[in-house]
Amino acid sequence: MINKIVASPAEAVADIFDGAVVMISGFGEAGSPIELIHALIDQGAKDLTVISNNTGSGHVGLAALIAHRRVKKMICSFPRTANSMVFPELYNNGEIELEIVPQGTLAERIRSGGAGIPAFYTPTSVGTPLAEGKESRTFDGKTYVLERTIRADFSLVKCRAADRYGNLVYNKTARNFGPIMCMAAEATIVQAKQIVDLGQLDPEAVVTPGIFVGKVVEVANPAEESKLVAEGRRYPW
């Protein structure tokens, strides 16, 4: 029997090793797998390269992982948000590396990583500082830059519902990077608000086919990052 369901976030993240490349879903707090990130903090893996659109806010979730000095490098499109304090401080002290990537290029580097394509040409960033040092080529009179694909050892993703095969559906704009990150990692770890029986997800409406998912853990009442930040909470509690 195939059963990708595990009992706890701790069990879900147990295999993440020092130096791993980890993709973390989310756009701001929407879609950020906060319980998996907290389990990763407890687990202790360090020297991580994290690929995520932002760098977290307050002192919970991704920001807490960074605050605990577990991340050596961030690959993201927008490393600051309204309540982002941890990353800017470490960055300004030279204690964390940053690779800044245009958001659509980041998405396509992840998508193509999952699709087995090593590189692609894109018009984004041509003529800007972010294209400097990159190979470029002209197609039909227009210039494009060559971007390399990214893959990860692990992806941490949040979704609304999953079954034991790992089929997933998401919630509203919390979907964002989740589906493409599921495709681009050796091992994808998912926290679902609800685990349902096989057949309960409409096959026509499954967003992430289970083949892209390794482990699923149910987190029925996930914390809301913005509320934790507003309350001034810090992880570990």
Binding site: F27, S77, R80, Q103
Partner: protein, 219 residues
């Protein structure tokens, strides 16, 4: 630097209306963060426009009523929004396919600087000590989407924002189509910048004095 009379020119709301008037019925539109968001409130009666937000929603509606906020229903500026009937959600690679693949018709953006050839700088002032953060800005201008810039004509210090050559790091080269300021609507053509409309009480010379590049008048 030339001082600007506070009582002259269009209000921000009128600037947003000017942009909205140029977006035809049936358009798919991406609105940038800040002033561009106001455009949605000025769509003329009878026109249906569908808003795209790059974090995965086509059919974005206005902000929710107080108490109805959903932390998983936000826009690219991470503000709470709603979804209209007929809306759909999608992942980031599909979202930027809509952008880079020229499926979106118009994008309305703010600007630090626009050059006379349409170069746009709107993501970084390049000041030392600032953390670079680009978001989706470069992707939005990379395709052939019509790029409308809405911006004050000059900076708070009175420096021109429309210049011969951008001094800030570029977002994209030769990408801007039309500029909507408090003083004028200016079209970027191969031959240079052409003033299409002047705000009430504003003369061509008044705008030219506050612009860092040569303006042209349509014959």
């Amino acid at each position: 630097m030339v001082s600007q009379d506070e009582n002259i020119g269009w209000s921000v709301s009128e600037m947003a209306r000017n942009v909205a008037m140029d977006i035809p019925n049936g358009s798919y539109v991406n609105l940038g963060i800040g002033m561009p968001e106001l455009v949605a409130t000025h769509v003329p009666v009878g026109r249906e426009v569908i808003y795209h937000t790059e974090n995965g929603l086509l059919g974005m509606g206005p902000a929710p009523a107080e108490g109805q906020e959903d932390s998983e229903l936000i826009n690219a500026g991470k503000k709470y929004v709603t979804a209209i009937p007929g809306a759909c959600y999608f992942h980031h690679a599909d979202s930027f396919t809509m952008i880079r693949g020229n499926h979106i018709d118009f994008c309305v953006l703010g600007a630090f600087q626009v050059a006379e050839n349409g170069d746009l700088a709107n993501w970084s002032t390049g000041a030392p000590g600032t953390i670079p953060a680009v978001g989706g800005a470069m992707d939005l201008v990379a395709g052939d989407i019509t790029i409308l810039v809405i911006s004050r004509h000059t900076t708070r210090e009175g420096e021109p924002k429309i210049v011969k050559k951008c001094t800030y790091p570029l977002t994209g080269k030769a990408v801007v189509d039309t500029i909507y300021t408090d003083l004028a609507i200016i079209e970027v053509k191969d031959e240079g910048l052409f003033v299409r409309e002047l705000a009430p009480g504003v003369t061509f010379d008044y705008v030219q004095e506050r612009t860092g590049a040569k303006l042209h008048q349509y014959p």
